[in-house]
Every structure is written in C-alpha cells, then in structure tokens.
C-alpha cells in the first residue's frame, strides 16, 4: 500500500511551502508521528510529521524546492513496493490535492459571532471540543500548527479574544472576568460545553478564569506559558513595546522578545501584528489590558485549587512570563518543561505541544 506525502496547509494564508530539509532518507522506516521534513512557509518553519508508518520509498520534491499546498512531495510504502509501482502511483496521483476538497469537514472555517460584540472564531474538525485562546497582541493564527495538527482528533475552536485579530476592539475594563465572560458567550453561541481549553500567556489566565466562573464549559485546562502563576512575572518591555509601537520595526523588536531564536520572527509575522495594531482602537484596547495585567489583582484572585485538571506546559527560556514556581502550585497539576522554545512553544515546538494536547482529548 502506497501513501502520498503532500505539502500541508498550515493556516488559511498558506499557498506554498519550501522544503528546507528532508529529515529522513529514501529507504528509512518511519513510524507514525516521526519528524519527516522541515518546511518553511512565509510565516514560520515547522516540521511535518508522518501520519502513517511505512518505508520512505520516494522523495518527489527535494531540499530547497517550493511546492504548492497539496502537492505530492514524497511516497511512503506500508509493504514492499517495486520502483515501477511507485512510478505508476506518482503518475496516477493528482498534481495537487487541495485539502478543502479532500477533507471537507476537517477544513478550517472562520466565522464572526455576535454576542453583543463581534467575536471572530475559527473551527476545524469534529468530535470533542478543544478551545484555543491566544495571548496578548496575538490572534487565533498563533495556533495554526495546533489547528492543523489536531483537527483529526477534535473539534478545534480558536477564538480571537476581544481587542485582538478580527474581533471587536471593545475590551471593557480589561478584566480577566470580562474576557472570560466574552469567551463563555462565544462558546455558548457555538453550543460548546465540557471542552478542553488551552490558553497561551494572557489566554492561559483567561482560561483559568473561564474554568472558575463557567465550570460547565471546561473539563480540562492546558496552560501554555500562562500569565498569572506564582513565581512568574509579566514583561512590560513586551507589553509596552506593543502598546507604544509606531512602526513595523518597533513591533518586530517586541515580537523578538517572544521567541528563543529571533530569526523565527518573519516579515509576515510582523506584518500580521502591525496590520492588527493599525485597526482603529486596537492599541488603545491593548493599553487597557496592559494596565490591568501590570496591576496584577486579577492574577492574584485566581483560585488555583479550584481548577479542573490542569496540564501546564512551561518554557525554561520564557522572557515574557518567566518560569513559574512549581512548588507553589496545587498538587495534581501535570507539569511539562520545554527546553527548545521561548514564549511561543505552540509555534516554536509545535510537535511537542500538539502531542501534549492530543493526550488530553
């Protein structure tokens, strides 16, 4: 049985990808989940993992080649196959399979919900709900590798928090309770309850508040470099860097604080944030959130003991919220430390984060 390896589609905007490096050679046995290829998009470089086990029998597009989304880039064989069979398979394979056609129900859909204000939401896949909440000045695209990686196993719902992305810029008093109430209203609008909720940074604190105020909506929490834990801090270099940014180069400087390797901050990544910050009211909304976060009262009010089961994914090289004091956390929290990422592990170490989230579904 031969299986096609195709150029993935990571996020709505991706049209093509560059094969940076094949991590396996022709003839290698590959297990499901093994790292196969480093692929660069205009946003970021990520590793494509094998979705099937088998032997790599052909590399169709080699290192350095640029291929459109859905294009055949390699072939895996689950049984012994001769060269002629592989040639015939490649010849019979469509040049490019666009995912929306191949897996219609799994394709990502973006919609805007009216909960008294406009909330922008992306959904993909079906099954148990997995809700993704981004951090300060981020948007749902921060989760693009997670959406792509887990939509086969869950109904993935990524939300633009108020003040962010394509959601309305009204953040009210900027409190965690207010943000959590808006997320709750959006989830109710979507008919979601009993969800696994993953929150990154500020989104992690919102996830905790959501679980405390709206317990029926949340079955488990995954906190990815969350703000608001004991022993941590919030870097005002980053917050005010974004709130006061005037030019793209100011934004780039702030974003580089987020990651371990500053080169991962691409021009497209900067452009995306710059475009969001230019929208009327965006920086003013973020200024409200910044003040509220620096005041710290909302974080102190989070009753960590009262939360549903928590998986904490923390980074040892996190310049934005620091490393939490694990000894001060309630017993029963599952803690995973990451060494290879900064403050954006869902982009910097997507495979690891996805595997940890998958285990919760």
């Amino acid at each position: 049985m031969l299986k096609a390896i195709r150029m993935p589609k990571w996020g709505l905007a991706m049209e093509e990808g560059t094969i940076v490096e094949w991590l396996r050679s022709v003839g290698d046995e590959v297990a499901e989940g093994d790292d196969l290829i480093d692929i660069e998009t205009t946003k970021i470089t990520n590793t494509l993992q094998a979705t099937n086990a088998g032997r790599l029998v052909r590399i169709v597009a080699g290192d350095g080649e640029v291929m459109p989304v859905g294009a055949l880039i390699g072939v895996l064989a689950s049984e012994i196959a001769d060269e002629a069979e592989v040639d015939a398979f490649i010849a019979a394979s469509p040049v490019a399979v666009v995912e929306e056609e191949a897996e219609e129900e799994a394709a990502m859909a973006v919609q805007s919900l009216d909960i008294g204000k406009r909330i922008n939401v992306a959904t993909a896949g079906s099954g148990k709900p997995l809700v993704l909440l981004h951090g300060f000045s981020g948007d749902l695209n921060n989760w693009l590798f997670t959406i792509e990686g887990l939509k086969d196993a869950a109904r993935v719902i990524a939300i633009d928090l108020p003040g962010h992305g394509a959601s309305e810029k009204d953040v009210g008093d900027g409190s965690l309770a207010g943000l959590a109430a808006d997320v709750a209203a959006a989830l109710e609008e979507l008919g979601v309850s009993d969800a696994v909720v993953a929150g990154h940074s500020l989104g992690g604190a919102v996830a905790m508040r959501l679980a405390l105020d709206h317990p029926a909506l949340v079955s488990k929490l995954a906190l990815v470099c969350p703000a608001g834990l004991p022993g941590g801090f919030v870097s005002d270099d980053f917050l005010s860097g974004i709130v006061n940014a005037e030019k793209a180069r100011d934004v780039k400087k702030a974003l580089q604080l987020l990651v371990r390797d500053p080169d991962t901050v691409s021009r497209d990544m900067v452009d995306g944030v710059v475009k969001m910050l230019r929208l009327d009211g965006a920086q003013a909304a973020l200024a409200v959130l910044r003040e509220r976060m620096l005041a710290g009262g909302d974080f102190a009010a989070l009753s960590l003991d009262a939360l549903p089961p928590v998986t904490l994914i923390a980074s040892r090289n996190d310049a934005i919220v620091g490393a939490p004091d694990v000894s001060a956390l309630p017993p029963g929290w599952t803690v995973h430390w990451l060494d290879q990422a900064g403050h954006l592990p869902q982009l910097e170490a997507a495979g690891e984060v996805n595997a940890l989230l998958r285990a919760l579904l």
């Binding site: 394509a166 810029k169 021009r267 929208l279």
Partner: protein, 333 residues
C-alpha cells in the same frame, strides 16, 4: 479577510470617514454623479466610479458636484479646510493640476506656516496619474515630483488596496494638505482589506521582499512591477529587497539607508521623466548619506524625458517595465 479592489478600498475609506466625522465632505466633477442630470443619483461616482454610492448615502450637502473648474474646486476646498471642514476634493486627472497649482502650492501648503501655526488645513486632494491607458499626453502623467518638492504638502502614492484604504484614512485625519495620487492602472487590482477602519502612518516604507543582494525602491504602480522583477531575480538566485516608501513626502529615508547598508546596491524605479525625479532624489540621498555603502552606481529606471506617447507601442516602451528593472538590478551586481 475580504478581498476587494483598490477602487473599492478607496470608496470604503471615504464612506467610513464620512460616517465617522460629519466635517468630511467630497467635492469634484461628477463625484455624486447624475445630480441635475438623469436623476439617477450616485450612478457615476466620478470618472472612474470611485465615489459611487456615496451621494445617495450622504446627500448633496456632503457630496458636491462642481462645475468643470479645477481652480474653483481646489480653491473652495482649501478655504473649507482652513475654516473647519475636512474636504476631500477630487482632481480628475493630475495632469490638470496646472490650472489650480496656485491654490495648492502657494495657498494651502503655506497656511499653517504663514499664520504662525494657528491655521490647520485638513485638505485631501484625490487625483490619479499614470500611463498605459492609451489616454494621450495630457491624461497620462504622474507628476509626483512637482508636488513632492513643495514644503507643506504631503504626497501619498498607494500601491495596493490595503495601503490605499489605510493611507487615505490617515490622509483624511491629517491636519495638513495631502495629495493622494492614485494609479489608474491599479483600480481593478484586488487584495485583502480589513472591513474595520485603520490608519497607515505617513513616512513608513513597506518592505515587500527581503534580500541582501540589492535594494529596489519603487512608488505607486511601479511597486507591483518591482515585486515581479524581484521574484524573477529570485529564481536566478538573486535576492533583492523591495521597498515602497508609500509617501514621497515625508520620505522614509531611514528605511532606504538601512537597506542600502545591508545590500550596497540600489535601483530606483520611478514612473516619471528622469530630471528632478524621485529617482534622482533618492540617488542623491544614497550618494550623500551612504556613499561608503555603495558597491555599484545607483540604477535609475525612469521614463524618458518626453511627453507620454499616444502610439501604444511607444507608450508601452515609455513606462518602466519588469524587464528593465531586472536588467538594472543585474547591472549593479
């Protein structure tokens, strides 16, 4: 994100700013369209249909069809601006600027300076330029150099739908006179544009391609051509940075010099005759501020020093082409 045309992006900025601020008014030839004619108001919306639909929404007090007199349009708009309105005046073709140039360079541009900073002139002059439309020598010029050299004027040359909306929004909210120079050949170009209002600051260049081999600086309709040239060069292994300063005044000198510091090679693409052009201006910037960084003579890709020809083959040869840009970059390598 919605995908709309450059024309629609401009229309959207006008509509949103008119809805937001009652002081924003439009005036120009047929900007309402049909008023006093067939009765089918709002049917035309200017010669290119950019203001279509605004007359029915905002009425004749705010969308004012004027007589065919550029000096009256711009003079009235400058007066309205200095007395508290925020007019957006349409000058159908930039080629007609001669008859209203006094109102622009000797009046509007000097009010703030001559009245001791007490006068504000929030005037936007929307106009269009560019060759390639078979419109002849009097309807095909770009003329941004004439405007850029006037102190007190801001000059904007949007090169994409996203930039057109954000820069026009900024222009309308600006308290100084702004000439917003649209490119005829871009009106039907489509791109992603947020529905919400947003501003793009003046004086900040857009970086469209990153590369360390050379820097191309291009304006308005020349930007897509520079990008096409960069993509062709990339296939041959030559990686160039493409900068669109977006505004010729103020000019983002820092972005140009920073890039030149990295690449050492500069090509300027300007849809203008060469003498006293932006190409000449930026070449002067490079040699006066970054002489040590330069590894090759600055490449200037401009029109020839002639009026825009009417013969289609000559007109096509007149405007800087992708092939000429590629050739100019290669010459610097």
């Amino acid at each position: 994100m919605p995908v709309i045309s450059y024309r629609k992006a401009i229309n959207q900025a006008l509509e949103q700013e008119m809805a937001r601020d009652a002081r924003v008014i439009l005036m120009g030839i047929d900007v309402g369209g049909g008023a006093g004619g067939s009765g089918d108001v709002g049917s035309v919306g200017g010669v290119m249909g950019v203001t279509k639909g605004l007359y029915p929404k905002f009425g004749s007090d705010r969308v004012i069809d004027t007589p065919i007199s550029e000096s009256a349009i711009i003079g009235a708009a400058a007066g309205a601006a200095v007395t508290g309105m925020r007019p957006v005046a349409e000058l159908m073709f930039v080629d007609f600027i001669g008859v209203c140039f006094d109102q622009i360079y000797n009046q509007a541009a000097k009010f703030r300076y001559m009245f001791g900073g007490k006068a504000r002139t929030p005037l936007v002059i929307r106009t269009m330029g560019g060759a390639g439309m078979r419109a002849g020598a009097q309807h095909s010029q770009t003329l941004h150099p004439i405007l850029t050299m006037v102190p007190g004027l801001k000059v904007v040359m949007p090169s994409s739908p996203y930039d057109a909306k954000g820069l026009l929004t900024r222009a309308i909210r600006d308290d100084d006179p702004v000439v917003f120079l649209e490119s005829k050949s871009l009106y039907d170009v489509k791109g992603e544009v947020p529905e919400e209002a947003y501003e793009i600051p003046f004086g900040e260049a857009n970086v469209l391609r990153d590369g360390r081999d050379a820097t191309i600086v291009a304006f308005g309709a020349m930007v897509p051509r520079a990008v096409a040239a960069a993509d062709l060069l990339a296939k041959e292994g030559v990686k160039v940075t493409v900068l669109d300063p977006r505004t010729t005044s103020p000019l983002d000198e820092e972005a140009i010099l920073d890039s030149l510091d990295e690449t050492g090679r500069l090509v300027v693409v300007d849809e203008s005759p060469p003498r006293c052009s932006l190409a000449a201006d930026i070449a002067a910037l490079a040699v006066s501020q970054a002489f040590d960084a330069l590894k090759a003579p600055v490449g200037l890709v401009t029109c020839p020093h002639t009026p825009v020809p009417f013969a289609p083959n000559l007109e096509d040869a007149y405007v800087p082409s992708v092939a000429r840009i590629v050739e100019a970059v290669k010459k610097t390598l």
